[in-house]
C-alpha cells in the first residue's frame, strides 16, 4: 500500500488519468512479490521500493525504474527461491512499465534529441586539425584527457569544456598553424649513408663503449642488448636536417649472439644462429634511453637484411636501433636477451620527405600568394606570405578555409566577421600573414570548429555527413562526402550505405577500429598496468604491441567479411605473428607480420575474450581477479554490466605469495549474503578465464614470488628468465547463475554461444554508443532489437549490424 501511495502522489498532475491506470497495473505485482524484501526495513540490494517515486525527469530515478523493469523482465526478480508471479501478472507488469518507460524516453528524445551537444574529443580534435592542415604534429599531449561514460570517450554528456580546455585549444591552434606554415624554400631532400661508428667514438667513455657495443667478425659495429631501455641504440652522430619532417631510414643489419660481452653467461645457452628482433624507434638526443614509435623486424643470423623505418623526426630526436630478443623456435622455448646483438652495416637516411610543396596546409591557409624574406639579408629563411591586396586576399582565403574548418557552408556574414578580425589586426600593425593567422586561430578555437552541430529531429545533410565521418574516420568529412551533403543526397539510405562502404575502405577507417576498441574493450588502457617483472619477466613491449594489433586486425576481419557476432566469444582463427603465437603456445608461425592463422582445436584461443590484449587490460600487473574479469566480460562482451559494488565492502586482495587461492578467498566472500547475488553473475566468467595470467598466457599453475632461498625457482629450458616459483593449480571450473556448469574456458564459451542474440545485442549497443556519441536509452531498445533481428538473417554479421545502426533513426537523428 505504501508503494501505491507514493506512485499515486507522483503521478498526480498532468498525467493523473494515465497514472491511476499505471498504478492499478503495477500495484498487484509490487504488493505480492516485491515489498516483502524491498521496503524501508529490509531494503535488500539497497532498494527501497516504498520510497521510490515516479519522477522520470530525474535521470537517477529513471535508471532505478529501468533497473526494476530489467530485473523482472529478465526473471531475476522475484528470486527463484521465492513464489513466482503468475504469467499474466508478470506480463501486465512488464508491458505496462515498458510502455511507460519507452514513452518517457521517446518523448525526451523527440524534445531534446538523444545526443547532447558535444565537442570533439581529443582524438577527434587532433585528427581533424591534422587532416585540415595536412600536418601530423603530435597535439595529444597538449590537451586534457577526456572523461568517459560507459567506457566510451566520445559521449557528449561526459565531454565537458573547462578553462583549461580553452587555454590548450589556443596553444594547439597556434602550434598547428606554425607547423602548417612554410617559412623557407623547399628544403633539399638528401640521401646519406652512415653507420654507428662515429656515434660509438662520440660516446667518449671506454667502459661504456666496450660494454654496450662490439664489432662483428665482418667488422661492423654490433649493438648489444643493454636492458630494454638502457641507452645504447641512439644514432647520435646524425640529427634531422629539418626537424619535424619525415625521414626514411633503410637499415642493413644482421643478428649476432655475442659470447664475449657482459651477458656472455646467458649467451652461452643460445645457439649462434638464432634470429633476433631488431627494434627500430626514435629516441632523444642527448640520450635518455626513452624510445617511441617502436617497430620490430626479424634479423637473420646468417645474412644481412634490409629494413625500412619511416618516421617524423622532431628536433632533438634521432634514430634508435637495438636488438630486442631472440625469436623462439620450439615449444616451451622462451625469448633470450643475454648476448644478443644487432650488427649494423649501414643506415641510409633519406629526407626530409614531402608529398608536395608548399605542403597542403600552407596552400589551404595562404593559397598561391607569394613569399618574401622578412630580412633581405637572409633570403632563404623567415619567408613571409605577402599580399598586394590584403583585404581581398584575406576574404578569398577565409571564404575557402572556413567551410572546411566548420564542416558546413558558411554565410557571407560569418566570413565577414573573420575578415573584420583580420582587418583589426592589420590596423594594429601586424603583417599580412600574422593578421590572417589570428583569424584562423580564432576559427580553430570557435564552437563552430570544436563542436558537432546537430539540431533536434532528423539530422540535416551536413550534420549527417559529420556524424558518419566522425564515426568512421574520427575526423571531418572529405570533399566527396561534403559534396553529397551539398547535393542533399546523403539522407538517401542507399547513398548513406554506399558512403559507409567508401569510408570503411579508406586507410582512415583504422581510426574507427582504434577508437571503437579503445573504448569498447578498453584497449586504450593497455599501458595502464605493467606486469610484475618478477612474476612475468617474459613480458615486453613488442609482445604488447602484437597483442593490440591482433585484436584490431581480428575486429577488422570480422567487419570486412561480415562474420558473426559469435566470434567475439569464440573463433577458429586469429591474427598472430611468431612472438604472439609463441606466447599462446602455438608454433609454426614464422616472422613478425601478423597474419590470419587457423587456431589448433586445443589452443583455448579464439574470440576477444581469449586474446592477450583483452586479458591484459582486464587484469592488474600482478594478479588476475575473477571479479574484475567477470565484470569486464559481463559489461563488454555480454552487454549486462554488473551493479556497482556496495559501499563498505573491502575489495579482495589476491595473495601473491600463493598460500591462498583466489577461489578460496572468493568463496569466503560470497558467504556474505550482501555479496552473493552479484558474485553469482560476476564470478563465473572471471573463473572461466583464470587459466590466463595477466599477460594472457595460458597457465596450469599460478606463479608466486619466492619467499626464501629454499623455494624452488622455475627454470625454463633454453631460457635466461626465472624469477618465480610454481604456485597452486588453477581451477577454472564453475557454474553460471542459471546453474549450468563448465570445467574450463572452452566449455564456458560454448555456453555463451548458445545465446547469439545476446552477443549481437552487445555488439549493437557498443556500436550504437560509439557511432552516435550517446549511450543507449530506453527508447533505443526497440531499435536495437530490430537491428539484431535483421542481422540474424546474416548470422548476426558485424558489417550488417554496423550498416543497420547507421541506417537507424538513432544515427540519423540527433
Amino acid at each position: 500500500m505504501k508503494i501505491a501511495l507514493s506512485l499515486l502522489t507522483l503521478l498526480s498532475g498532468s498525467a493523473a488519468a494515465s497514472s491511476v491506470e499505471l498504478v492499478k497495473k503495477l500495484e498487484p505485482m509490487f504488493e505480492k512479490h516485491c515489498v516483502n524484501c524491498h521496503d524501508a526495513e529490509e531494503k535488500k540490494g539497497g532498494l527501497d521500493l516504498s520510497s521510490l517515486t515516479w519522477a522520470p525527469d530525474d535521470t537517477e530515478n529513471l535508471q532505478q525504474w529501468i533497473k526494476v523493469f530489467d530485473k523482472v523482465h529478465q526473471g531475476e526478480m522475484p528470486p527463484k527461491k521465492r513464489d513466482q508471479p503468475v504469467p499474466d501478472l508478470k506480463a501486465t507488469f512488464v508491458a505496462t512499465l515498458k510502455h511507460e518507460l519507452h514513452r518517457v524516453s521517446i518523448e525526451k528524445q523527440t524534445a531534446q534529441g538523444r545526443v547532447v551537444y558535444r565537442r570533439l574529443n581529443r582524438n577527434e580534435y587532433v585528427h581533424t586539425i591534422q587532416d585540415l592542415l595536412g600536418i601530423d604534429t603530435a597535439l595529444h599531449e597538449l590537451l586534457p584527457e577526456d572523461t568517459t561514460a560507459g567506457g566510451f570517450d566520445n559521449i557528449g554528456a561526459a565531454l565537458n569544456v573547462s578553462q583549461v580546455h580553452m587555454e590548450r585549444y589556443l596553444q594547439a591552434a597556434e602550434l598547428a598553424l606554425n607547423e602548417a606554415t612554410v617559412t623557407t624554400p623547399r628544403p633539399e631532400t638528401t640521401r646519406i649513408r652512415t653507420d654507428y661508428e662515429e656515434t660509438w667514438h662520440d660516446w667518449n667513455a671506454p667502459g661504456f663503449q666496450n660494454g654496450t657495443w662490439t664489432h662483428s667478425p665482418e667488422g661492423f659495429l654490433g649493438i648489444r642488448w643493454n636492458g630494454h631501455n638502457g641507452p645504447h641504440g641512439e644514432l647520435g652522430a646524425w640529427k634531422p636536417q629539418l626537424p619535424d619532417a619525415h625521414y626514411r631510414f633503410r637499415i642493413r643489419a644482421k643478428a649476432m649472439i655475442d659470447k664475449v660481452g657482459p651477458n656472455a653467461a646467458a649467451a652461452d645457452k643460445t645457439r649462434p644462429d638464432r634470429a633476433i628482433l631488431l627494434k627500430m624507434a626514435l629516441t632523444d638526443w642527448p640520450r635518455t634511453g626513452l624510445t617511441f614509435g617502436n617497430t620490430y623486424a626479424e634479423m637473420s643470423a646468417t645474412e644481412f637484411r634490409e629494413f625500412e623505418y619511416v618516421a617524423r623526426v622532431p628536433a632533438g630526436k634521432t634514430l634508435w636501433l637495438s636488438p630486442y630478443r631472440t625469436v623462439p623456435e620450439k615449444p616451451d622455448e622462451r625469448a633470450m636477451v643475454g648476448g644478443i646483438c644487432a650488427v649494423i652495416e649501414w643506415v641510409d637516411i633519406e629526407g626530409p620527405l614531402f608529398e608536395q610543396w608548399p605542403p597542403l596546409g600552407h596552400q589551404r591557409l595562404y593559397g598561391d600568394l607569394p613569399m618574401q624574406p622578412a630580412n633581405p639579408k637572409t633570403p632563404t629563411r623567415d619567408l613571409r606570405v605577402v599580399s598586394s591586396q590584403p583585404e581581398a586576399d584575406a576574404k578569398g582565403l577565409l571564404t575557402g578555409f572556413l567551410p572546411r574548418c566548420f564542416r558546413r557552408p558558411v554565410s557571407d556574414a560569418e566570413v565577414e566577421e573573420y575578415v573584420e578580425l583580420f582587418k583589426q589586426q592589420l590596423q594594429l600593425g601586424k603583417p599580412f600573414d600574422q593578421a590572417l593567422r589570428v583569424a584562423y586561430k580564432m576559427a580553430l578555437c570557435s564552437p563552430d570548429f570544436l563542436f558537432l552541430h546537430e539540431t533536434v529531429g532528423a539530422l540535416d545533410q551536413y550534420a549527417l555527413a559529420n556524424r558518419l565521418s566522425y564515426s568512421l574516420w574520427s575526423s571531418a568529412p572529405d570533399e566527396a562526402l561534403t559534396a553529397l551533403a551539398a547535393q542533399k543526397k546523403l539522407t538517401d539510405p542507399a547513398v548513406l550505405r554506399a558512403e559507409t562502404e567508401r569510408l570503411l575502405s579508406s586507410p582512415k577507417a583504422r581510426r574507427f577500429t582504434e577508437g571503437l576498441l579503445g573504448s569498447w574493450l578498453n584497449l586504450r588502457d593497455i599501458e595502464f598496468t605493467q606486469p610484475d617483472t618478477k612474476l612475468y619477466p617474459e613480458f615486453e613491449q613488442y609482445l604488447q604491441q602484437s597483442m593490440v594489433s591482433e585484436t584490431e586486425l581480428f575486429f577488422e576481419d570480422l567487419l570486412k567479411n561480415n562474420l558473426s557476432a559469435r566470434n567475439i566469444v569464440h573463433s577458429d582463427f586469429s591474427f598472430l605473428n611468431e612472438r604472439l603465437a609463441e606466447h599462446y603456445g602455438i608454433f609454426g608461425v614464422k616472422g613478425d607480420t601478423l597474419r590470419k592463422v587457423a587456431l589448433p582445436a586445443d589452443s583455448h584461443r579464439g574470440g576477444f575474450i581469449t586474446q592477450g590484449a583483452v586479458l591484459k587490460v582486464s587484469a592488474n600487473g600482478t594478479t588476475t581477479s575473477p571479479v574484475v574479469r567477470g565484470a569486464y566480460v559481463l559489461d563488454r562482451i555480454l552487454g549486462t554490466p554488473p551493479d556497482l559494488p556496495p559501499k563498505n565492502v573491502p575489495a579482495i586482495e589476491p595473495d601473491i605469495r600463493g598460500a591462498t587461492t583466489i577461489r578460496e578467498q572468493l568463496e569466503k566472500h560470497r558467504s556474505q549474503p550482501v555479496c552473493a547475488g552479484c558474485h553469482a553473475k560476476l564470478d563465473p566468467p572471471g573463473f572461466a578465464l583464470e587459466n590466463f595470467d595477466v599477460t594472457g598466457r595460458w597457465r596450469q599453475n599460478y606463479r608466486a614470488i619466492p619467499e626464501s632461498a629454499k623455494d624452488k625457482v622455475v627454470t625454463i629450458p633454453g631460457s635466461d628468465i626465472r624469477h618465480y616459483t610454481k604456485g597452486p593449480l588453477v581451477d577454472a571450473a564453475y557454474n553460471l547463475s542459471d546453474g549450468r556448469t563448465f570445467k574450463n574456458v572452452d566449455e564456458f564459451k560454448q555456453l555463451l554461444l548458445a545465446n547469439p542474440e545476446q552477443l549481437a545485442t552487445c555488439v549493437t549497443e557498443k556500436l550504437l554508443t560509439y557511432l552516435t556519441g550517446a549511450t543507449p536509452q530506453f527508447a533505443d531498445r526497440e531499435v536495437i532489437e530490430a537491428i539484431v533481428a535483421k542481422s540474424k538473417e546474416h548470422d548476426f554479421g558485424i558489417r550488417t549490424i554496423l550498416h543497420e545502426v547507421i541506417q537507424s533513426r538513432c544515427f540519423t537523428h540527433k
Binding site: 662515429e198 667514438h201 671506454p206 667488422g219 649501414w346
Partner: protein
C-alpha cells in the same frame, strides 16, 4: 735473447730522436688485396714506424701556432700552452714525450702533413699536400706530395701484409697487425714475447694504473717484438689511426683499435670512421711518404729474425 736485444736497441734509438719521424719501407709492390678488398698497393712507399708522438706534435705547434689561428692546440693533449697570443709556446708534460699524440682530427693531421711537406719551420699548414680551404677534410692529396696521411690500402698493407712467399699466411694477410691470426696479448711494459698490443684489458690496466674508463697509452713502440712485417709498431692498439679512406662520402676511415677498446678492434676486418673535424681522446695518426733514393730495404721484423 739476441732478438730482444736488437729490437730494444732499435726502439731506444728511435726514441732518442723522437722529433724525427722514423720510416720503414713497405715493399712488395703489386701485392693482391685482402679478402676485405683492402691492401693492394702497386708501388713502394714508406710509412712512419710509430704513431706521431706528443713531442713531434709539440714541435709542430711551436713552429706554426704562436698565434694559433687554426686552433691547433687542444688542452687535453698533454701539451701545455704558455705565453700570450703571438708568443704562444708549447711544452710537453713530463713523461709524455714519446707517447702518441691524441685528440687529432683528420684536419689536424692534414695540416701537420702540409707543414712537413713545406719543409717544417714556418711552413704553410693550409696548402701543399692538402688544400684546407673547404674545411671538409675531404680534399685529396696533391700528386707530388712529399708526405701524406696514408691511403687506406697503404695503411692496411703496412699493418697486415706479409707475402706468403716470405713466411706470411695463406693469402698474405694476417688478421692482426702483429703478424698473427691469434688475438694479441696485453702485457705490462717491458714484457713482450711477441704478439703484444695495448688494448683494453681491465685486469692488466689495474696493474699499470689508470682506472676504468680512463685513456692511458704506452709510449710508441713499447712492444719491440710485436711489429708488423714491415716493421711498424702499434698499428694495432694504443691509438686508433686515421687513414685517407673516405667512408659514406663525408667521413674518413679509422683503423687499428686503441688502448681504450677490446681486442677485436685490432682486426683487419674492423673499419671505423668519423667526421674529419672530430677529435677523439684515443685517435691519432701516422704518415707516409715516397721511398727516398738509396734507402736499404730492411724492416724491423727482418732485423729481429
Amino acid at each position: 735473447m739476441k732478438q730482444f736485444f736488437i729490437a730494444a736497441l732499435v726502439a731506444s734509438t728511435a726514441h732518442a730522436t723522437a722529433s724525427e719521424i722514423e720510416w720503414v719501407t713497405v715493399s712488395d709492390p703489386g701485392n693482391p688485396p685482402d679478402k676485405t678488398g683492402y691492401g693492394a698497393v702497386a708501388y713502394e712507399f714508406q710509412i712512419s714506424k710509430f704513431e706521431i708522438s706528443v713531442k713531434q706534435y709539440a714541435d709542430f705547434l711551436n713552429s706554426v701556432a704562436a698565434n694559433d689561428p687554426h686552433q691547433l692546440w687542444y688542452g687535453e693533449r698533454k701539451i701545455n700552452r704558455v705565453g700570450g697570443p703571438g708568443a704562444f709556446r708549447y711544452e710537453v708534460q713530463a713523461g709524455e714525450e714519446n707517447k702518441p699524440v691524441t685528440f687529432i682530427s683528420f684536419l689536424d693531421a692534414m695540416r701537420f702533413a702540409n707543414w712537413k711537406h713545406n719543409g717544417e719551420g714556418n711552413g704553410d699548414t693550409e696548402t701543399g699536400v692538402y688544400d684546407i680551404a673547404k674545411h671538409d677534410g675531404l680534399t685529396p692529396k696533391a700528386e707530388h706530395a712529399k708526405v701524406w696521411i696514408p691511403s687506406e690500402d697503404e695503411w692496411y698493407k703496412a699493418a697486415y701484409y706479409q707475402p706468403e712467399s716470405k713466411g706470411g699466411p695463406a693469402g698474405g694477410y694476417w688478421l692482426y697487425p702483429t703478424r698473427s691470426n691469434e688475438p694479441p696479448a696485453f702485457r705490462e711494459l717491458g714484457v713482450d714475447q711477441g704478439n703484444s698490443a695495448r688494448f683494453e684489458n681491465f685486469k692488466v690496466r689495474e696493474k699499470i694504473g689508470g682506472g676504468a674508463g680512463s685513456y692511458t697509452f704506452f709510449p710508441c713502440g713499447s712492444y719491440p717484438n710485436s711489429a708488423s712485417y714491415y716493421g711498424t709498431f702499434d698499428q694495432g692498439g694504443n691509438l686508433w689511426e686515421w687513414n685517407a679512406g673516405i667512408v659514406f662520402e663525408t667521413k674518413r676511415a679509422i683503423r687499428g683499435g686503441s688502448g681504450a677498446h677490446s681486442v677485436e678492434k685490432l682486426r683487419s676486418t674492423v673499419r671505423s670512421n668519423a667526421s674529419p673535424q672530430k677529435r677523439y681522446p684515443d685517435t691519432g695518426f701516422r704518415l707516409a711518404r715516397p721511398v727516398p733514393a738509396n734507402v736499404p730495404e730492411v724492416s724491423a721484423t727482418e732485423v729481429t729474425k
